[in-house]
Structures are given as C-alpha cells and as structure tokens.
C-alpha cells in the first residue's frame, strides 16, 4: 500500500477511528488501525471486538492499493507532531514508512490479515434518521445509564425503532430518560417486541462521529449487533444481552400538579442552590407554592442555601427533594430556552419532566 495523505484530515480520521481501539491490552493486534486503500478511496478501521468503526478518509491519493496496520498511538502522535501538509505512507512486508519532506518514521510490520474482519452493513432493510435528531436522542438519554456493572443491561440504552419513530430509553434505577424522534423504516425494518440494548460507549462514539446534522444515518439491527451507517462511516456494535426493565410500567399515567419552567432558569436555580449540598448528603429540597418555587440545600456541617424562582403556579404547596445532579445532568442536555413541564402528584412519588411529546425524564425523589 502506498498513499499520499493530507496530514490534518488523516489525523482527525485516525483520532475518530481510535475511539474503537481497546484501552486495555486485550489482544495486541487490536491496538492498531487498519488502513485499506483501493483504487477509489482509503478507509480506516479499528475494533475492540465489541464495537468497530470504519471511516472513509478524504484527501488521500492512492498510488498503490493495499492494506496496512498502523499502531494507533504512534501514527496519531506522528500525524499530530509533524508540521508538514502532506505525508507519504509506504507499507511493505518490512514495515510502514511515513515520510515527509524533513521527517521519516519507520513502523515495524504487522500482518494485516491478523486483524479481524470488517462486518458488513447488509442491504436488506434499515431505518433512516436525521443525524441531528439521532444525536439529540443520544445526548438526552445516555447520561442516565447505570455505571455499576451489577445491573448490566442498564449500562446500555434501549433503542426502539417503529415504523415512524425512534425512541431511546436509559435508566440507572434512580431516574429514567426517554427521548423520541421521527424515523423512516425501509423494507419493514422494526425492532418489534425485543428492542436492542446498545452499549453507552457505542452511542458515545456514534455521537462524536455525527458531524453534519442534516446527514441521514442508516440503522440496521441484527440478531446481536447493530450498525450505524453514514455517508463515509460504518459503526458496528454488539448488543447488551438481557432483559431491560419495562419502562412503560414505571412512567406515571397522570399527575395532579403541572408547572411550566424554562430549562435554563431551572438549571441556574438548581446549580446555585446545590452549591451548599455535599457528597454525603447530595440533596436538594424543592418547595412549590403560589407564584414561586424555592430550592434549598444544606451541608452536613450546617451550611445552607436558598434560591427562589418565580413561576406561574396557583395550586397547593408541595415539597420534595432530589439529588441535584440528576436534574443538572438532564437540564444540561436541553437548550436553555426550552420550556419544560414538571409533573408531580405527591411528595414521595417520582417527578416527571416533560418537553412536548418527544422527551420525558423521570426522577425518583429522596426521603
């Protein structure tokens, strides 16, 4: 393989691809990025066997088609540290020579055939979602995933694909986020009664990979795998197996109190008040009364905060308390001007934050 690449474009492609390189030493060969050049284009592929990402790189002139393994850490450092516009990559069974006008690097040879195969997207049926919408789904849910591996299925995001819409659901048992957007099903592609649970890491990589909001992402769900395909990339991931909790049963059917607040205002109030909550207590009291909402927090040593916010409310007084971080996580993912409807019934019951019909966020209070 022999190519001439535009250094910066090749660098950003390598950096994106490297998000699939395993951080732990599972299998030495996986610490490489596999480059594959044919007459038309050049693509990069990396995988940790759980997820794999293939990117097409622009700005590459292929002189001689072929394959090569590039050690991820080294090639990224070379591309980052050298100052030249173009670099020549020349791969032979001896190794890979990276050459600029004033620099030359030699990377020892590793056999490209040892690298796992690239799974193919397949072309029968899929869903199409606008990249901007998909990214919004991810950003509004993925923070709710469980981090402990004790409840393994909850470390992923449930991804439901219907005829006309797509939903992502994430929960760690303390709060639950549900986001929805429009989607187009082609060839009768739906997830049916057994929707996939996608690892949070996969969605993080996907998020970083979606640059153009208007681009259309194709999604195909296989037996134990999911593919996301954009114009110049394919992301492949294995799914998390196991039964996901029935989120529909958890979402409250009705609420006696409904208040509308702006996301930005609520975030500011919560952030200010939670200055005086600490790691051991992590607790923010909400007090709702006519015309205003009051946030109060207290540290274990007796420090206190009180923040008031005017709202349009005319109902009974009610108090409840939350872990402020749960609210901050959600509000950060919302545009500040967005209106959010808070729905609650009694103080011990979960509180629902809703934005139209496309987003619901359920938080369990503290007692």
């Amino acid at each position: 393989m022999k190519i001439i690449c535009h250094r910066e474009a090749f660098l950003s492609a390598c950096q994106l691809t490297a998000s699939a390189v395993p951080s732990k030493d599972v299998k030495a060969v996986l610490r490489n990025i596999k480059a594959h050049a044919d007459e038309m284009s050049c693509s990069l592929f990396a995988t940790d066997l759980e997820l794999g990402l293939r990117l097409q790189v622009g700005g590459v002139e292929v002189i001689k088609p072929g394959k090569a393994l590039l050690p991820a850490q080294k090639i990224i450092s070379i591309l980052r540290e050298t100052r030249e516009d173009q670099l020549h990559l020349d791969a032979s069974p001896k190794g890979v020579v990276v050459k600029g006008k004033k620099v030359e690097f030699f990377l020892p040879y590793e056999d490209p055939e040892q690298f796992p195969d690239v799974p193919e997207f397949g072309e029968e049926a899929w869903h199409e979602i606008r990249a901007g919408d998909l990214r919004e789904l991810i950003r509004r849910t993925v923070f709710s995933c469980a981090t402990e591996s004790a409840r393994y299925t909850m470390t992923g995001v449930l991804f439901e694909l219907d005829r006309e819409d797509a939903r992502m659901i994430a929960t760690d048992g303390r709060r639950l986020a549900l986001a929805q957007c429009g989607a187009k099903s082609l060839g009768e592609h739906t997830t049916g009664t057994n929707p996939p649970v996608v690892p949070a890491k996969t969605l993080g990589v996907l998020d970083r990979n979606l640059i153009d909001d208007e681009e259309v992402v194709r999604i195909r769900v296989g037996v134990n795998e999911i593919f996301f395909r954009t114009d110049c990339s394919v992301l492949y991931s294995r799914l998390i197996e196991g039964r996901y909790p029935d989120y529909r049963a958890i979402l409250p059917k009705s609420a006696s109190i409904k208040v509308i607040v702006s996301a930005g205002g609520l975030l500011a109030g919560v952030r200010q008040a939670s200055i005086m909550s600490d790691d051991e207590t992590k607790r923010l009291n909400f007090h709702l009364e006519k015309g205003q909402i009051t946030f109060e927090a207290e540290t274990a040593l007796g420090g206190k905060s009180k923040v008031e916010m005017a709202i349009d409310y005319d109902g009974d007084e009610i108090s409840t308390s939350f872990n402020p971080q749960f609210l901050i996580d959600m509000l950060k993912a919302m545009p500040g001007e967005m209106e959010i409807q808070m729905e609650l019934s009694t103080s011990g019951k979960p509180v629902l934050f809703r934005s139209g019909s496309s987003y619901s966020y359920l938080v369990m209070p503290m007692s």
């Binding site: 981090t147 402990e148 004790a150 409840r151 929960t171 048992g173 303390r174 709060r175 639950l176 909790p245 958890i250 600490d278 790691d279 051991e280 207590t281 992590k282 607790r283 540290t299 274990a300 040593l301 308390s321 872990n323 011990g348 979960p350 359920l362 369990m364 209070p365 503290m366 007692s367």
Partner: protein
C-alpha cells in the same frame, strides 16, 4: 433397587411391641446423657454443688482424664443420713421446691438431676457429714443401684468419688475423646468455675485441682478477678488487662478486658459469666468484638472476662441441660451495655502502640540504637526546607538492627525489615569510624529539640491544657512544637519528634483515620437520606433468611434501606442511603444483611456506617509510596490531634508507633 434388596436380604417387618413405662435406671441413664456428657461435666456439677453447699475449700482430684476417677472433697454443709438416698435419686434437690422458684434461681444447681445422673453411669461413693451430726453417713451407687447406707466418720462436708465413668453405657464411653482431650476439657471446666467463683469475693472457696496427684490449678479463696485471670493466662497477660464496670437497669457488669495488643486468633480467650455461671453467648461475643472494632485487626479476637449480674427475673437460665447457655429477656439491652462499657473503657485508655527495637547481633548489646533510627532515610528535612544527605551507610549486607513491629506483626503493618539499597548497615568498624559525621546531621535535625529544662516541664508555658497529668491524646504534641521537623521515609512513613519521644507515622493509615472522622462527624447528626429507586433491585436470600431480614424492616429503614418482600427468598430494595454514592446498593445491602444473619443481630447504625466510611476513607486517603511536601506533612500531623482515636486507622491498624525518649536514652546508656 427393590429387586436387589429382595434378592440379597430379607427384610422382616418389625412386630408390634407394646408401649411400656421405662424403668428408673434407663430413665436415669437417658437423663444422664443430657447432664453428664464428659468427665468435665461431672466435675462442673459436683463443684457447683459444693459451692452451693457453702464450702470454703474444694479439692478436685482426677486421674486419666477423669474417666477412671474424679474425687471432689468439700467442707460444706454436708448431707444428712436421711437425705442420702433422696440425693442419689433423680429430681431431688434442696435448692428449689416449687416451679415458681425457677424464676428466682440464685443457686448454681437447681435441676436436681446431677447426682442421680452421675450415679447411674458410674461407680459413685458418697461420704458426708453435716456440722450438727457427730457421725456422718456413706453410700455407694453402682450404675444406679444404691448400696446400703453405713456410718462414716470423716470431717464435715461431702466427699464424692466417681469411678469408671460410663462403665455401664459402653456406647457413651466409646464416644469419649482421647484422654488428653478430656483432661483439657476438664481443666477448662474448672477454670471457668474458678472465674465464676470470683463473684463470691472473700467468701469464694479455695480451689485446688490435681491431675494424678499433681496440682494442675490452685486458686486461693479471696482472689480477685485479676488474680484469677493471672492464674488463667499468666502474669504478663494479666498486667495488660483493664478493669471495667457498668450498670444498666437490673444488670451489673464487671470484668477485665485486654488492651488492643492482647488479641488472639480465636475467641477462646473470651469468658462470659452470668450470675456466677459460665455461659456461651454469641451476642456477648459480638458485643465485645464491637467494642474493639477498629482497634484490633479484622480476624483477631479480643481477650476478656465479663461478669454480668442480672436480676433473676430478667434472665432464663433453664434453657440448656448443661446450663451453658442462658436467655436474656432483652438481649439488645445487654449487648448494648457490654458494647458501651468496653468502648468507653478503651477510649479512656488512649491506646497507643509502641515501636519496639531489638538488637539481634549477638555480643554487641550496646550497639547504638540511634543509628538504626538514623538509617531510616538518607534525607532529613530541616526547618530551613533543605534536604540533607546523610550519606550512604555502606554495603547492604546483613543488618544488626532489626525493627520489630509491636508484639505481633500486624499484616497491614509491613514496616520494612530491610534497609533500602545503599542504606545497608555499617560494620562495627564503620560505625566507629563514621560515628561523628553521622551524628552531625542528626544534631542539625535536633536543633529545635526541647532542651533538658523544657523536658523537665513537659508542658510549656503556652500549653493550652491546664491539667497536664491527665492522659490526653490531643496533647501529644507540645503546643510550642515547631512544626516542620518531619522526616518522610520510604515515601510512606513520617518520623516526628514529640514530647514523649519519636513517633513513626504511617501516612496512609493516619490520613484514612482523619478522613474517616471527618465524614463521620458530618453524618453523625443528620439522618441518613434515602434515594428511592424507580426500579427496585432484587436481592436473593434463602427464604428463612429473607424473613429474618424483613422482620427488621423499620431498623433497616433507619439505616436508609427500604425493603419489601419480593416473594420466596427475594427482597426488593426500594431505596438506599445516599452516602453509598456509586457503590452498588444491592451489593452493600447483601453484605450487611449477611452480617446480620451471622450474628443474629441487626448491624447497628454505627456498625454499618463504620464499614461504609472505612471503605470511602480508604479510597480517598494518601497512599503509601507518595512523596509528601513539607506543607502536606505538616497538615497531616497537625490534623492528627483532631482525630477521635488518632492511634488507629478505621481497620484497626496502628497509625503511629512510638519510640519513647526514655527507651532511647536507656538504649544509649544515658539512664
């Protein structure tokens, strides 16, 4: 299967046998099985009888583990000729007359079955005379058959000889352990009785036990508990015991406990006596352990003798045939009393581990120990923020000075036994030729040392503590102590000069303790806020266990755990204490619940917090092998004085070892 059976052997149906009343001997032998298990239990029953008879002197002789012979001679009230036959018959006693008396039992024996039981499984000779009779009586009982009663002219009291134990119940005899094991058990039994006798104070009988004629144990009549402990464990142990006393409603607690250095690998060194009777009680073991929590290592057991006097109405002693267990009306109260008393006593003691140094070089007894101390590090930090190189100490060959951790090497306390490369010990010749250059930097280090006069008035003028005589952990450091004289060695230990001597601090252990105290202080006041779960977490137990956990539902709620039955052995966890942060609630809950099932007691709030906080503190403390800046060292040592128990980390390892100034001067031959 049935074919095989029918082919190989013929099973006959057992013919019907009529139900009939057992004869007295069989009844006695069955009953004996409950009371008289081993020779040791014979001794216990008979010595208790002697005590109940007001004896001033009790002599126990036994041979071959007590199987061949047990002889108990006392000078108590004795038995009249008329009562002898009755005494050897089952359920005859002078200590109890009607069932209501069972609630008010004050004597050791009461069931009235001991003597008859023993008589039915051995060759027993009973000789006795009361004070007002001139001629006593004797009778033998061979395997339950009472011989003729004949006159006997011995001294006042009772003399019982039990020979050939279990000679007529071969099955039982076969199940006796080796003679040595029976001897051990018998002596253990007598030791327990000896401890129990301390409650009688000056009235306690003189107790002598002889094995094959040799004295195995002797305890004078008026011995106090500490003396009895000394007989049991030896002088050295006894001198480290702490006396303790506490009172609760209807309960009085006295006893001795070991300090934290007296820990043992088993709980066999824990004795509990309730109303003069040695008993086994898991909850008391637990209370004692809890009292020592954080002071001794996990997996080690404290030493102690705890004597409870409980109003007879508050304790049921009639729950175990061998009287080895009792049931308290309210065991939580007893548990709490013991726990608090132990805790308080230890706190008062300000337990402080000491650093011991020994010389292992034969024939060089007067080798200067100070060099060992100097060899800790080539670097000494001085007040001028300069690191001075002490230079290399020669080749790293065998070192004559060995640093020994105190008493028992704690697993977590791996004080280096070898010096790092380049810091090898000097040969004697080198010591001689290098002595002065090495002392010099030390002297520089000591620039700010208290002068002799300052030492003679240990608490300087500016000392805030007005009562310098009281031991106070917070005043270990002189108030005018110029901070900055620290040495960090191996990037893990700090060496600090304090009023009493030189302290070696384990930086990780100390920081752990400080963080632990800080977090605990913040939590102590408030409730434990609970984060509820949208989706309950299910934790599986065995079904009986789950019920036991659910029975304590409200107690769990106070700890911040909301639990519900989930059917079968499953428990649904609906909420958990916020302090767990990212730790898995179900895993922590399961851990705590299993502790509960082990001890039959709900972990107390304190206990639960302790283990959680220890976990949190351990993870956020500075590690060993971490170079600290002078300011960090200063802050760490300064905060040490604020800790509640600065001398132990939450896991019970020492945070600091002390080499006292006196020891140092002794070793240098100055005093």
């Amino acid at each position: 299967m049935s074919e095989v059976l029918s082919g190989e052997c013929v099973i006959e149906r057992v013919p019907r046998r009529p139900i009939h009343r057992l004869d007295a001997l069989t009844i006695a032998q069955i009953a004996a099985g409950e009371v008289v298990e081993r020779p040791g239990s014979v001794v216990r029953e008979l010595v208790e009888n002697a005590v109940d008879a007001g004896a001033k002197r009790i002599e126990v002789d036994f041979e071959q583990g007590g199987i061949e012979l047990i002889r108990i001679v006392d000078d108590g009230h004795g038995i009249t000729r008329e009562e002898i036959a009755l005494a050897l018959t089952s359920h005859a006693t002078s200590k109890l007359s009607k069932s209501e008396d069972l609630d008010q039992i004050q004597t050791l024996g009461f069931r009235g079955e001991a003597l008859a039981s023993i008589g039915s499984v051995s060759r027993t000779l009973l000789q006795t005379r009361t004070a007002d009779q001139t001629v006593g009586a004797q009778a033998s009982c061979d395997g339950g058959v009472l011989g003729p009663i004949t006159p006997w002219t011995g001294p006042q009291g009772t003399r019982i000889e039990v020979r050939n134990l279990f000679h007529n119940t071969p099955a039982r005899r076969k199940f006796l352990k080796a003679q040595s094991a029976e001897t051990t058990f018998l002596i253990e039994t007598v030791q327990r009785l000896m401890l129990a006798l301390s409650r009688l104070g000056a009235m306690a009988p003189h107790l002598v036990v002889r094995n094959q004629g040799k004295v195995a144990l002797e305890c004078p009549s008026g011995a106090m508990l500490r003396e009895r402990a000394e007989i049991l464990w030896g002088v050295e142990v006894a001198s480290d015991l702490l006396e303790l006393e506490a009172k609760g409603p209807g309960i009085k607690l006295t006893g001795v406990i070991g300090n934290n250095r007296l820990d043992r690998a088993t709980s066999k060194f824990q004795h509990f006596l309730v109303n003069g009777r040695w008993i086994r009680d898991k909850s008391l073991n637990h209370a004692l352990m809890e009292g020592f929590r954080g002071l001794i290592m996990v997996g080690r057991f404290p030493v102690g003798i705890l004597i409870l006097e409980v109003e007879p109405g508050l304790v049921d002693v009639n729950v175990h045939p061998a009287k080895a267990e009792v049931r308290f009306r309210d065991s939580q109260v007893v548990h709490h009393l013991v726990f608090k008393a132990v805790r308080e006593r230890l706190r008062r003691e300000n337990i402080h581990p000491t650093l011991t140094m020994t010389t292992s070089l034969a024939g060089t007894k007067s080798l200067p120990m100070g060099l060992g101390a100097a060899a800790f590090s080539p670097l000494l930090f001085t007040q001028q923020n300069q690191w001075q190189d002490l230079g290399s100490f020669g080749p790293p060959d065998e070192h004559p000075l060995a640093l020994k951790p105190p008493v028992r090497p704690a697993p977590g306390l791996d004080f280096p036994k070898e010096f790092p490369r380049g810091l090898g010990p000097p040969s004697l010749h080198e010591i001689a030729s290098n002595l002065s250059p090495k002392i010099e930097p030390l002297a520089a280090w000591e620039n700010g040392l208290p002068t002799e006069s300052r030492v003679s008035e240990p608490h300087g003028v500016s000392n805030p503590n007005p009562t310098p005589n009281q031991p106070n952990p917070k005043n270990l450091f002189p108030a005018n102590h110029a901070l900055g004289r620290f040495v960090q060695v191996f990037d893990s230990y700090l060496i600090v000069e304090i009023e009493k001597g030189v302290m070696v601090i384990d930086q990780h252990a100390l920081h752990e303790r400080i963080l632990f105290d800080q977090i605990r202080k913040r939590l102590e006041l408030g409730a434990l806020p609970m984060q509820k779960l949208l989706i309950p977490e299910v934790v599986e137990f065995q079904s009986g266990q789950a019920q036991a956990i659910l029975d304590q539902k409200t107690a769990w709620e106070k700890l911040g755990f909301e639990i519900e039955s989930f059917g079968g052995g499953a428990i649904a966890l609906g909420g958990f204490p916020v302090v767990l942060a990212h730790r898995s609630p179900s895993a922590v809950f399961q851990n705590l619940a299993e502790k509960l099932l082990q001890n039959d007691l709900l972990p107390t709030r304190e206990e639960m917090l302790h283990s959680l906080l220890a976990m949190i503190a351990c993870h956020s403390a500075v590690r060993a092998n971490e170079r600290l800046t002078p300011l960090q060292m200063e802050a760490l040592v300064e905060q040490r004085q604020l800790a509640l128990d600065p001398n132990h980390c939450p896991h019970g390892r020492p945070t600091a070892l002390l080499l006292s100034r006196q020891d140092l001067e002794k070793q240098f031959g100055r005093i």
